[in-house]
C-alpha cells in the first residue's frame, strides 16, 4: 500500500485517510493505533483489572513510585510508569510537572498567581498545579 505523509499545521488539522478495497486486520490495527485516544488501557481498581479508554483520563500522577490515573470521578492504579504512558498516550497528553501528565482536553481553564504558579481547573472542578517550566511546552503543543 502506498503511504503519503503531509505535514499538518496544528493538531486539530491532523487526520488520516485510508483507501482500501476491504478492511483487513492490518488496517484495523492501523486505525486503532491512529485513534490512539480511544485506546483502552488496563488499570487496577480494588484489586481488579478494568479497561478504560484513554479519552476518559483526566490526569495521571506518580506518587511514591506508584502511578495513578484519574478520571472524572474515579481513581485507578496502573503498573505502567509515567514516562511509558507519556510515550504511548496521544498528542493531547503532556507532562505538567515531574510527577504529573494531564489531558489538555479535560482542562476547563488555567490561571496564574503572582508567585508564578499556574493552576489548572479540570472539567470536574479539580485543581492541579502546572509547573512554570512546562508552560512553554503546553504553549508549543497548543501552537501558541
Amino acid at each position: 500500500m502506498q503511504v503519503t505523509f503531509e505535514k499538518a499545521d496544528s493538531p486539530e488539522k491532523e487526520e488520516a485517510l485510508i483507501k482500501a478495497q476491504t478492511i483487513t486486520d492490518d488496517i484495523k490495527a492501523a486505525i486503532e493505533l491512529l485513534e490512539g485516544g480511544k485506546r483502552k488501557i488496563p488499570l487496577l481498581k480494588d484489586g481488579e483489572t478494568v479497561l478504560l479508554e484513554t479519552t476518559a483520563f483526566y490526569y495521571i500522577e506518580s506518587v511514591d513510585k506508584r502511578t495513578f490515573v484519574y478520571s472524572k470521578d474515579d481513581c485507578f492504579e496502573t503498573r505502567l510508569r509515567l514516562y511509558e504512558l507519556e510515550e504511548t498516550l496521544g498528542a493531547y497528553f503532556l507532562r505538567i510537572s515531574k510527577s504529573m501528565i494531564v489531558n489538555l482536553k479535560k482542562i476547563k481553564g488555567v490561571k496564574s498567581d503572582l508567585s508564578g504558579r499556574m493552576e489548572a481547573t479540570m472539567l470536574n472542578g479539580e485543581k492541579i498545579v502546572i509547573s512554570r517550566s512546562y508552560v512553554k511546552e503546553i504553549k508549543r503543543r497548543l501552537d501558541l
Binding site: 481553564g109 490561571k111 504553549k139
Partner: protein
Amino acid sequence: MSKIKMVFLQTSFISLGIFFAVGIAQAISHFAGNPYNTDWYFLLSVIFAGFLCSLPSFILCFEKIKPFFVRIIIHFTMVLASVSLLGWLFKWYTGLVGYLFIVLIFIFVYAFVWIMTKWFYVKEDKEINNALNSIRDEE
C-alpha cells in the same frame, strides 16, 4: 518560567520602570527651570540595580513561606535595602529628602513591576485558555 527568564524579565521591568520614573522626574525638573543631569555611569548603574533587585525574586519561589503576602513583604524589604545601598554607592541621593524621593520612585517602580508581571501572566493565561476552548471535550 525558568529562573533565568524570570531574572531577565524582572531586570528588564525594573530598569524600564526606573528609566520611566527618572525620565518623568527629569522632565518635571527641566520645565521647572532646574536642569537635572545624570552622571556617565547612571544608565549602567540602573541596569545593574535592575539585575541586583531581581535576585531577591527567588524568595517568591519559596513555597514554604506562607502566605504569599509574607513573601511579598520580605521581597519588598530586601529590594528596598538593595536600592538604598546602591543609591548610596552610586550617589543617587544626598540627604534625607533625596533618599525619600528615591524611596518614592522605588515604590512606584515596585508597583509597576508587579503590574507588568500580572499583565504578562493574564495575557499568557488568556492565550492558553483560548487555545484550550477549541480542543476541550464535551462533558
